[in-house]
Every structure is written in C-alpha cells, then in structure tokens.
Symmetry: C2
C-alpha cells in the first residue's frame, strides 16, 4: 500500500457531480436537437493539434493562454482553445469532400490557462453552430431563427435577440471618409455604454481624427432608438449613397421581415446598432442574445458573419456565419431564474429492496416498467427501510414502488407519489400494466 | 496574409466528419438512455489532472503513454488515460456528499501516446458505468442486465454475455494450496486459447510449481463445457469445501437465476470459466460481451467487480462493479454488420429554394414542419435545381418539399419520397397540416 495521495482537482478545473451534470446534459441535448432540426450535422476534432495550427490565427492573448508541450515524438502540440480554429483547419482539409453549404455543430471542451481570479475556468465547453460556404443572407436569418428556437426549447420566455450588421457602421464611415480608422472607431464606440458620449466623442476626435460633424454622425448612429421599423427608417437616411451601408441596411431589413413572417414575437428580436462584437473577423451580421430578467450577465448566445474562415490554411474562399451558446453562463442563469428542475436522479422511479428472498421478483418488476420507457432504480441491498428512504430522498425520485411480504402475497404493489405523499395499491398482473399506468399518471402531473 | 499553414491532424488523432459522427452520437445517446433507465447518473471530471493522481494507480505501461507536461503555474499535469483513475479520485473526494450506493456513468475522451502501428488511436472515447459502495451481488446482476438492454437497444440481436467469477479459480487454488501462485496461474491460463493445453500445463508446472494432479484440476476447470446449469453442477463438485469457491459459485448461480427470471434469452448469456480479464484488480464477477457474428473482434463490452476502488486516495473502503462499452470497436462492427443507417443528415426533410422572391414563405413552411418535431433543412441560395438536388443526394434526405411558382400560386406543395421516387401534391393550408401528415407517413415506412 503506497502512501496516500491527496485527491484534488487542478486550480481552474472542476468535477461535475450528478446534480450539475444532469441539467448540463439536458441543455446540451436541447441545443443538439434544435441544431439538428435545421440540418446542422455534428462533427468532432482532436483536443490536441499541432501548435502551428493553433497559433496560426489566434490572438496574442489566446497564444499566451495556450496549454502547449512537446509530445512523445517531440512534436510541438497544444490543446485547442476554441472550436473556431479547429473548424477552420477542418474545413480547409475536408470541404472538397463535404461540399458547400456545410452546416455543422460542434459541442466540445476547450482549454485556456486563464487567470482564475476572474471566476473563469480553464476547461469549459463550447456549443457552436455555423454554416460555411454561402454568402446568402438566408444563412444569417437562419442563425437568428435557430437562436430563437433554442431559447424557446430551453423554456426561457423572456429573451431578446439583438442584431446588427457591421456594414451599417462601415457604410457610414465610408460616407464620412473614415474607413481607414474603423478599428479606432469601433474601439471608441465599445466604451459608449460604460463611459458615455462625451468620452467617446473625445476619443473619436483624438484617435480616429474625426471632425466635429463626423463625431456627431457616428454618435447619432450609435444612439438610434425606436422599434425595428423606426430604426430601419432612420438608417435609410443616414446611410443613403453608401453601397456598403445600403447593403447592410437591406440585410437587416430582410432579417427583420423574415422573422416577422415566421411569426417571431417582435419582443424577442431587436435591431441594435450599438452591438459590435469585439472580434475583428465579423464582417456582416452580428448577433447577441440577452435574458430580459438577467441583462447584467451579458450575452448568452453570440455570433455573426465572417468573410473568410480558413484563409490561413487554404486558398479556397470560405465565408460563413454562426453562433455559440454560452453554456456555463446560461446554466448559472437558469439556476438563478429557478427554471431548472431540482432532480438529481436520471430515473424517476425508486424500487426499494425489502424482502431479501424476492430479488428476482423485484428485478422482473423493474424490467417491466423499463420496457414501458420509464427508468427505475432498484436499491441493491435489503437494508432497513429508513436507510433506503433516506437514499431516495437525497436523490429526488418522483415515484416509489413498495413491494413487501404482504404485497407479494396478494400480487399487488403500492405506487407512491413522493411529491404528494399519496399512494395507490394496484395489481402487478399482466406485465405490471396497472403499475405502469399509475406511474404514468403521476409523472404526467 | 501570413504564409499558409498545411491543415492536418496529429498522427494517431482524427477528425469525425458528419457521416462518422452521426452514428457515434446515436450510439452514445443509446448508451446514456439505457444507463439512465437503471438510475445511473452522469458525471464529468477534468481532462487534465495532477500527474501524481494519474501515476498513482496506473501500470508502467500507462505511465509511459501518459501525455504529461508542466502547466503555466509549473505544476506537473497529465491528460487522463482512462476514466477509472478519475473515478477513484472523484469518489474519494465526493463520496461523503454523494452517499452510497453511488451509480454513475461517464462518457468522455481519454488520451494515450500509444504506438499507432497497432491501429490504435491516441484519443478515444470511453463509455463506463459503475456502482460504487455496495458488495451486493444485485449490482453485479444489474451490470449484466444493463449490458443486455444496451445491446438490445443498439439493435444487435446476436450477442452473448460471458460471465465468470474470480472466486471460482481462487477457490480452486485455495483447495489446491496454490493461492500464492494465482498470478502465475492466471498468466498461464490466458494462453490456453492460443497455445493449447500442453503448453499451459508445462508453464503451470514450471512457473507456478503445480503438481501433475494440480495441473489436471486447473485444466479441468478451464475446459468446463455445457449449458449454464451443467457448468454450475460441475463447479459444485470441483469447488466444494472451499469457502471462496463456494461463494463464487453461489454468486454465479444467483446471476444465472436472476437473468432467467427477468426473461433474458438463455442464448444471450453464458457462464464461461475461461474468461479472466487481464486486469489484476477484479475480485469477483467478470464479464465480457461478444458479437456472435463477429467473435474475432473480441469483447465489445467488458467489466467486473473490484474490491477497493480508491485506496490510493482514501481510507474509506469503496468496493464497486461496472463495465465499459467499447464504442469504437462496436461502431466498426455495426458498420461491418450493416446495422447502421446510411444517413448522413440529421434532418430528414430537404426544402429546396426555387423562387427567390418567396424566401419568407419557405421559412414559414419549414417552421411549421419543425413545430411538428420534424427536422427540415432549407437550402440557403436560390441556385439551379440540379445543384440543389446534387447537394440533397449527397446528404441522404428522406423527403423533399418542392415549392415553385406553380405551387405557390395554387397554395400547394409537392411532398417527394426520395427513396421511392413517389410524389404527392398537398395543400399548405392550416399550418401545413397535410404536408406534415404526408411527411410522417413517408418517415414511418
């Protein structure tokens, strides 16, 4: 017996116990079901990639956070830090075989050696979907519809999808002759909500060299208010004459009309010229999703359109559009909103083991209930009732099936509703059909 | 534009394209559904662990294959090489909170720097379920029932679960006074199938120092034949007088009776004293599962009972029993057996985009079909029909909804069965109820 080793996880990493994992699996399943319903296919890529693949497109920040090492063959390798770089590499490698449009989802862990003091974890799951190889605005509209269906499927009623188009600001800058300064302008505008118009105006004039008139037009754009149709009307006059701007406006208008046509509640969707998405590579539609009851947690699902996914790896032009669900943030939010069910058991029915001589009868009953598609957990030991019920309590079952000496003698079973405390005694004959019916009755409440 | 980087995966790693990933997700889902139906809960643990955790219990071989490195904080870390060591660490850390019996499943990737010449991958998925904290044979029986239900759920009809109990051989060795030599005996017996009885007899006498009589009894045990009841009867005489042996026999008998009582076909289950499972830590039940039509690929689901899962990390005694589904091996087998459906699309219905002015009408139709729970992929561009059908062909859709100028004019839609080539024109009125009904009709065939 060697000396004992202290059981612990690394800083920034965590175990998922069943109580955390069950809602997590449910959320992942829900996302997959919605992605699939639009024809997105699953893919997976290796956790480890050649280091040069990972550092090819990332920023300095992600490069610094990369888990990297030399493998057994002396190759420089790293753990993926997102699912976008692997998608770019994957698309460059396989797009000839797959054809376009290529619609994929990818739900997998990524790793970043981040500063854990900011409450960040070093291993977390990303949940992305993208359409590659088409410039059609249909794919952008579909992205918004997927997000809409996703939040409905999760059971969140009060959410708002904010949509903007990078071409709107670019069009204005084109009109103003400030295209070269667009990065400085974006950077300044990002501070609008926090620092206010005055600070932004000053920064626009110093770092982007904008004139007073130019500053006024930029701030006017960023401050547009009203319903979607009002904003679109105001954009029309601000952008008229700029080809880029008019294209952005047309795309936003199409998106707005399409969502209305499909019946998306106008409260769930707004055109918001204020959102920019920090990432440089977005070129058209950008999208963020906020929970109306928890706006402070920020966007829980974000994405947009990009021009050229895989230029680092291939000469083939691969435009795309897609979004990423913020799984962990959303799970915390659901917990805070009380939307998650408290269950920590994957099977709703508990079958205590009372009569030590009747194990095979218990097993047969459990089997009959499972055949009706209902999960049953059979306690493995004929322990005292108190012990078994204590176990059941902690697990949060919905139904218990009580079978003791009396029940076996009379060919019956007590079906207990653990929420109401009610109980009904039914016959176990005919493959336990009455037991199953009674359980179904309780579960449907 | 930096120099282009060659897109490629590391040796021993692979991308999963949709055609590989769709059956993979289906198999994982099926395993999860079966595990859950017995009350097993999901957990997850970090991919990275402290190196001392991983090297605490592994063998020299796994130590050598470990992906290890120093992280940003200079800690020695490694990628998990299985899910058993993380389970042991997890149980030692959380069992007080979780209580026993603790039933968990864990489906996740592991990494081993193996020699790829043997056709092995360096990243692969494990799919384990275990019951921790009970010595009851109920948990062993349940393991066999889970495996049985799992293969039924996968749609494999011809499989056989082979069960043995380590106590059977240990009991015989106890009777023969060869307990100290059990490792040598196991090692010799492992060669029986390949090398034959003569070679094994010689090895037993040289390495384990067994007498001629002892060799004869050991080989007699290993060569037992007949149906389950015949084997149990023969074991009774071979083991009588050994407490260990009699316990092993009783456990095997209980398992055999329980499986019969639940209605498991006797063809699906056999007592096989020849299986040993190489791993030292099994102490009671051992189980392997073979496909009757592909016996040569070896066991596709294996497991057993162990005495003390987490002794390296805690003084708490944690016996357990569990098994692991060989996901990749089983997927290859299903492909070979032709059991997998050829579909490479996650949504069964294809909606081509013909009339460029009607995008919103297409989107509305797709939405109506999705609300009936049927996935629809809408082509993003109003390309030529041939291009769109070529795309659809490659994806393997079951149904196409054809809506052109004529159909829009008459408020109708052609529902095409892509397998039979048949087609029916139905009204799109009333939320496309007739379209949905026609699709359901085709999908149910």
């Amino acid at each position: 017996m060697p000396e004992r080793i202290q059981p612990r996880t690394l800083k920034g990493f965590r175990d998922y116990l069943p109580s955390a994992m069950i809602p997590r699996e449910w959320l992942i399943d829900t996302a997959r079901r919605v992605y699939r319903s639009y024809g997105f296919s699953p893919i997976d890529t290796p956790a480890l990639e050649y280091l040069e693949i990972l550092t090819g497109k990332g920023s300095d920040e992600t490069d610094k956070q990369l888990y990297r090492f030399a493998d057994h063959g002396g190759r420089d390798v790293g753990l993926r830090f997102d699912l976008t770089v692997p998608l770019a590499r994957f698309a460059a490698q396989h797009i000839q075989e797959l054809g376009t449009p290529f619609k994929r989802y990818h739900i997998a862990n990524v790793w970043r050696g981040e500063n854990t003091q900011r409450g960040r974890y070093r291993e977390f799951m990303q949940c992305d979907f993208d359409t590659i190889g088409t410039e059609s605005n249909s794919a952008d509209i579909e992205m918004a519809l997927v997000v809409h269906d996703l939040f409905n499927a999760i059971g969140i009623e009060r959410f708002t999808i904010h949509v903007n188009n990078r071409r709107v600001l670019n069009g204005l800058l084109e009109k103003l002759g400030l295209v070269e300064q667009s990065t400085s302008v974006l950077r300044a505008l990002d501070k609008l909500a926090k620092a206010g118009a005055e600070v932004v105006a000053k920064e626009l004039s110093t770092t982007a060299g904008a004139s007073e008139d130019q500053v006024r037009d930029i701030l006017k754009l960023a401050a547009l208010e009203g319903d979607n149709n009002q904003i679109l009307a105001q954009l029309e006059s601000l952008l008229s004459g700029s080809e880029t701007g008019e294209r952005g406006l047309a795309e936003l208008t199409e998106m707005s009309n399409a969502l209305s046509a499909v019946g998306v509640d106008s409260k769930r969707f707004c055109i918001d010229v204020g959102i920019a998405r920090g990432l440089d590579y977005y070129t058209g539609t950008v999208l963020e999703t906020f929970l109306d009851d928890l706006p402070a947690i920020g966007s829980v699902c974000s994405g947009g359109r990009y021009d050229n996914l895989a230029e680092v790896y291939t000469k083939q032009h691969l435009p795309g559009v897609g979004a990423s669900l913020g799984l962990d943030r959303l799970l915390s939010a659901l917990e805070e909103l009380g939307t998650l069910e408290g269950n920590s058991t994957p099977a709703p029915v508990f079958l205590p083991f009372f009569d030590a001589d009747r194990r095979n009868d218990y097993l047969r009953l459990a089997d009959q209930v499972r055949r009706a598609g209902i999960g049953v957990e059979f306690f493995p030991e004929p322990k005292k009732l108190g012990k078994q019920l204590q176990y059941a309590d902690r697990r949060g079952f919905r139904v218990a099936l009580v079978m003791g000496v009396d029940e076996f003698a009379s060919g019956q079973c007590q079906v207990k509703d653990l929420a109401s405390g009610g109980s009904k005694t039914v016959s176990t004959a005919s493959d336990a059909a009455l037991v199953v019916a009674e359980i179904q009755q309780i579960l449907s409440q």
